[in-house]
Symmetry: C2
């Protein structure tokens, strides 16, 4: 590729599209000079990568983000989209009690997509993966009419048993770690055409899941765990069903952060509603035996009882939508 091919007369490299540089040049650009963690035994550049799985098992999950559905490039930078796509998956790994080791990225995008956007997306994926101790070990790119980012995350259980959704038992305490309601508040702000407060808007643009809290909860003996991607009530409903228990939250146990109550006041919204039903913060919520000393960063917010599986708030079903489902079934 000659320099003139990537810098048209009067233009800048920023305007170069994927179709101009080609698939392999893009892959070379986004994979060179990256520092792989020790768990990456063979990185990008071959038919497949090889990743360490020290205890003979690997945790694996996949999440798909679509432009216009999960992100808007006028609301988020490509780097934030990359961080968000990585975070959604890394949080799933953490919710099993595992430590993330690797990401693989399947990207579909229009041939006209500027290469600098794709490099920024890769930077975001790398930054978030690195923050969780993982590397980006592989991927693929194909042309499509809209941007679709499909991320697979791998992780290591470090010899522990996975913490599933099905282990909550009557008498257990419900606790969460991380932030709740911040992304929903940020989305509400953006939806009104505002760009601040930055803390909330950025929480929507790229969440900050408490990755370390997952393995810590597992080590402390968490009986069940899930990450809050669709909303606390919606995600706890999966735990209630899988565990065949009632999960009863105590609304007074949630301390509403000042940032949430301030902006809720300004927008005429209920901050507790954001906390209970807002998705995409990727907080972790888990159950622990009643006698368990909760690890640092975990806050008790309810308890588990016997009965037909459901999620209650202060002993009664919560009114209104519980959270987000992509395809609304009956």
């Amino acid at each position: 590729m000659s320099p003139s091919a990537i810098t048209p007369p009067g233009g800048s490299e920023a305007s170069v599209s994927l179709s101009e540089v080609g698939e392999f040049a893009l892959i070379a650009r986004v994979t060179t000079d990256r520092r792989q963690p020790a768990s990456t035994l063979l990185g990008p550049g071959d038919d497949a990568a090889v990743v360490a799985a020290p205890d003979g098992r690997v945790v694996a999950c996949t999440d798909v983000l679509v432009q216009g559905v999960h992100f808007r490039l006028d609301w988020s930078t490509p780097e934030q989209v990359g961080r968000k796509a990585a975070a959604a998956n890394l949080a799933d790994v953490a919710a099993m009690g595992a430590v993330p080791t690797a990401l693989l990225v399947g990207l579909a995008c229009p041939p006209s997509t500027p290469v600098d956007q794709l490099e920024a997306l890769a930077d975001g994926l790398w930054a978030e993966a690195s923050s969780a101790g993982a590397g980006v070990v592989g991927g693929d790119v194909a042309s499509a009419s809209t941007i679709v980012v499909s991320v697979t995350a791998l992780g290591s259980l470090q010899g522990r048993e996975p913490v599933t959704r099905s282990g909550a038992r009557p008498g257990d305490v419900i606790a969460f770690a991380g932030r709740l309601g911040f992304s929903a508040a940020g989305l509400a702000v953006l939806g009104r055409g505002f760009r601040s407060p930055a803390a909330l808007v950025n929480a929507h643009r790229s969440p900050e899941p408490p990755y370390a809290a997952g393995p810590q909860a597992a080590a402390a003996g968490a009986t069940s765990m899930i990450d809050v991607s669709d909303g606390l009530l919606a995600d706890l409903a999966h735990v209630a069903r899988a565990s065949d228990v009632v999960l009863d939250l105590r609304s007074a146990a949630f301390t509403v952060p000042d940032k949430l109550s301030e902006i809720a006041g300004a927008l005429g919204a209920d901050p507790l509603e954001w906390i209970l039903t807002g998705g995409e913060d990727h907080a972790l919520v888990a159950t622990f035996g009643a006698d368990t000393v909760l690890p640092e960063g975990w806050t008790a917010v309810g308890h588990v009882t016997d009965g037909a599986p459901q999620v209650l708030v202060d002993g009664v079903p919560h009114e209104g939508p519980a959270g987000w489902e992509h395809f609304h079934g009956p």
Copy 2:
């Protein structure tokens, strides 16, 4: 979900869309009653799956297929698309010398997509995965304007070292296993508006990679290996560059199958061109030390020499396009 919701009056279940049944009902439909292999320690239904990695390492790769680019639903059934998406990834695992263990699937599709199409796609993914000994252990579905299938495959090296693209040495023999040119011939047939011969058309619709040949080559001491996804010459070019060698194919070593020569005659095409440049058959091509007894199913078709990295046919560069690149760079 009531029965009436999935069978409208006078209609059939075939006409029900994803948006009518919802994301979670779809996932339930495509995951129930599947037989997982022993390597699936925890299957779908939680934040992540857990897959066995017996030798403490996992092979992982991702491939993206896009409607209108990699498949057409008027040319292929959804089940064939599923098989093809799985095969592309499982072949990458085999090309490392590994045995496939698991697939994860990121699916983006319009909410109007009929559920029976998605079930058939899942059936195809499952059928192909099962044929290679793997299970489908996880996935995600999101709405998008076109169908994008992103598949991640995991595999086990069974204690062997991975066979990369960089190990070819001067003096080595080049050999392949599987079919070459069949998919390209099938595509040529379909492109002329024909639907037969079935063997070629079906080869394009769903390839039949020689999965077992990968681990067998590795066990026999293959020095490099790659799967033929873009075309034999195009993919060997990666090996030539990574190994810093010349790969010289001998055209007379390729036996042109009768099916290819017959249809090439009818279409006025050169069957050797399909063999050298046709993609998507996912044959495996590898290099072996000159004294290696090739495993069954492998055919020697050239040798490795010293020099500036390139691929030759009968000692000279091949004229014409070498294969398929999604985004054509300069």
